[in-house]
């Protein structure tokens, strides 16, 4: 496939890639550090290129409910925001997960809690993988660590969302959103026609014709037995996702004695830390998580048979470390190192933490 090369910000790359992925609509509300998404879309006018709708809603709550509505009609639809705005969307996300509709949500994380700071952070891990909204639901969570992956993962996210009829969250951060790198873009994929949607998606509410069965989209089931059955169905789906969709990347793990576990921009910092550690004679490697849910439990379990210790590096005060420790299950030492509140760990700090907390600890 011919791929076009550009220099773009992560926020711009994902906006362009979503158009090319054949998205039907974007509903959003600006907030730093992801306002370039809606700015790019408004300037690019995809409604003239492909017919894709771009709409600035009156609030984040309105935007996510527009997503809910359009997703119910079988459309490929997405929204984006940053941490405080994503908190506002949680009710809608829970409804969409409950109603089993596909959509893509981008969170370009900034430091919190509260209004916090506009600087990059990874402190929304719990919110992303442990729920965020109410009820027993899971999002598929993808964590890009480069501008190219911002573009690639939005295409994958739409595919996964429709494969499992489940919202997919792309968990990015201020670094990946704001930085520019080379990006190769896919060719334009056509948007589905209304007829194709009707034929492909038996659940989509595309207008009842005489003689056809009513299609109902709801997250409401007042009878406890019905709700329990729905929950059992959802859990089966999540188990299937855990069995099939785990994704990760390993960097110099083959002979590693110590492994950093990281995702997103922290994983980039850790790549440099691996090089630094190796220049000091420490056999370090990196397990970069691509899916945060499903979490690569089995791979971490496998690595505990090989390495002496793991350092979870994240821009939070320690969230992902809980899942790492569960997967390690006490077999080897696993500790957390983080900078947070908008600060980014340096490769030196990461190597120092490995030396003091894991090797010498």
């Amino acid at each position: 496939m011919a791929r076009e090369l550009k220099l773009m910000k992560g926020n711009e790359a994902i906006a362009e890639a979503a158009i090319r992925a054949g998205a039907d609509a974007y509903f959003g509300y600006p907030i730093t550090p992801q306002s370039e998404v809606i700015e790019y879309l408004m300037a690019e006018k995809p409604h003239e290129r492909t017919g894709k709708v771009v709409l600035q809603a009156e609030s984040e709550v309105a935007a996510i409910n527009m997503v809910y509505g359009a997703a119910g009609a079988g459309k490929r639809v997405w929204t984006s925001s940053s941490s405080p705005g994503i908190s506002l969307k949680q009710e809608g996300i829970s409804y969409i997960a409950g109603a089993e509709l596909p959509c893509v949500i981008l969170n370009v994380v900034r430091g919190g809690p509260g209004l916090g700071t506009i600087q990059p952070s990874q402190a929304d891990y719990f919110q992303s993988v442990k729920g965020g909204g109410h009820g027993d639901y899971r999002l598929i969570v993808l964590a890009p660590s480069s501008v190219q992956e911002m573009a690639d993962y939005v295409v994958d996210a739409f595919d996964l969302a429709f494969k499992y009829r489940n919202p997919v969250l792309i968990l990015s951060d201020g670094v990946i959103g704001q930085m520019m790198e080379k990006v190769y873009l896919i060719e334009q994929r056509p948007r589905l026609t209304d007829e194709e949607i009707k034929q492909r998606y038996a659940w989509a509410t595309t207008g009842k014709k005489d003689g056809t069965e009513r299609r109902v989209i709801t997250s409401l089931a007042l009878k406890a037995d019905e709700m329990e059955a729905h929950n059992i169905h959802l859990q089966k789906k999540y188990a299937e996702i855990e069995a099939n969709e785990v994704r990760f990347e390993e960097f110099q793990c083959d002979d590693a004695e110590y492994v950093f576990v990281a995702y997103g921009s922290s994983a980039r910092v850790c790549q440099k830390a691996v090089q630094l550690a190796r220049s000091k004679g420490i056999k370090a490697g990196l397990l970069r998580l691509i899916t945060l849910f499903p979490f690569p439990k089995a791979e971490i379990g496998r690595l505990t048979g090989q390495v002496k210790g793991m350092l979870a590096v994240e821009m939070s005060s320690g969230q992902m470390i809980e899942d790492v420790k569960l997967a390690v299950n006490g077999r080897i030492k696993a500790e957390h190192f983080g900078r947070f509140g908008g600060n980014i760990p340096t490769p030196d700090e990461v190597v120092n933490a490995l030396e003091t907390q894991i090797i010498g600890g």
Partner: protein
């Protein structure tokens, strides 16, 4: 080859666009590049900086605390980034507005009178291209022809008539960079 650069100065000096043109030039010669701006509160206070990495290999961390080269265009940035130059690295600065000159003896220090030269030439907008020229004289990591291609790629077509002027400014910078010895 991997070159890790910080460019730091005031908003409006063309810090971010200088970084962008450098990144585009790297792409034109098939290298890996990253461009990471400061977008936080310090930007809103008037200063701006950007980390640019140009490399033959896949780039690891786009965020760095040590640099091969620091291009410094105001006093605040001098205070912040002089110590961040790797031993043996390069510090290039415009002495205009600098009250405390760099003092390190384990790095190579250069001056470019970019603001003065731009004023002499009657066009303050070419300031950043003069500084870029000075940098490329010290470290020719990208070829001038690729910078011109980079300019073509990063500027809208309606500004392409300004490219020869920018090319001249780069050459002025190349001619006027001088080594500096701390007292």
């Amino acid at each position: 080859m991997t070159e890790e650069i910080i460019i730091a100065g005031f908003g409006g000096q063309g810090v971010l666009s200088m970084g962008k043109i450098l990144a585009y030039s790297g792409i034109m010669q098939d290298q890996e590049v990253s461009w990471m701006p400061s977008y936080g509160p310090e930007m809103r206070g008037g200063t701006a900086n950007v980390t640019v990495i140009v490399s033959d290999e896949r780039i690891s961390s786009p965020i760095l605390n040590q640099f091969d080269t620091a291009i410094i265009l105001n006093q605040q940035s001098m205070d912040k980034f002089e110590e961040a130059v790797k031993p043996g690295g390069v510090l290039l600065y415009d002495p205009n507005g600098i009250t405390r000159h760099p003092s390190r003896t384990d790095i190579r220090i250069f001056q470019i009178e970019g603001a003065k030269k731009a004023a002499d030439l009657g066009n303050t907008k070419i300031f950043n291209m003069i500084v870029l020229g000075a940098y490329l004289q010290i470290k020719p990591i990208v070829k001038l022809e690729n910078v011109v291609l980079g300019l073509k790629k990063s500027l809208p077509t309606r500004y392409h008539n300004l490219i020869p002027m920018n090319e001249n400014a780069i050459q002025e910078g190349m001619k006027n960079v001088t080594a500096y010895q701390p007292a």
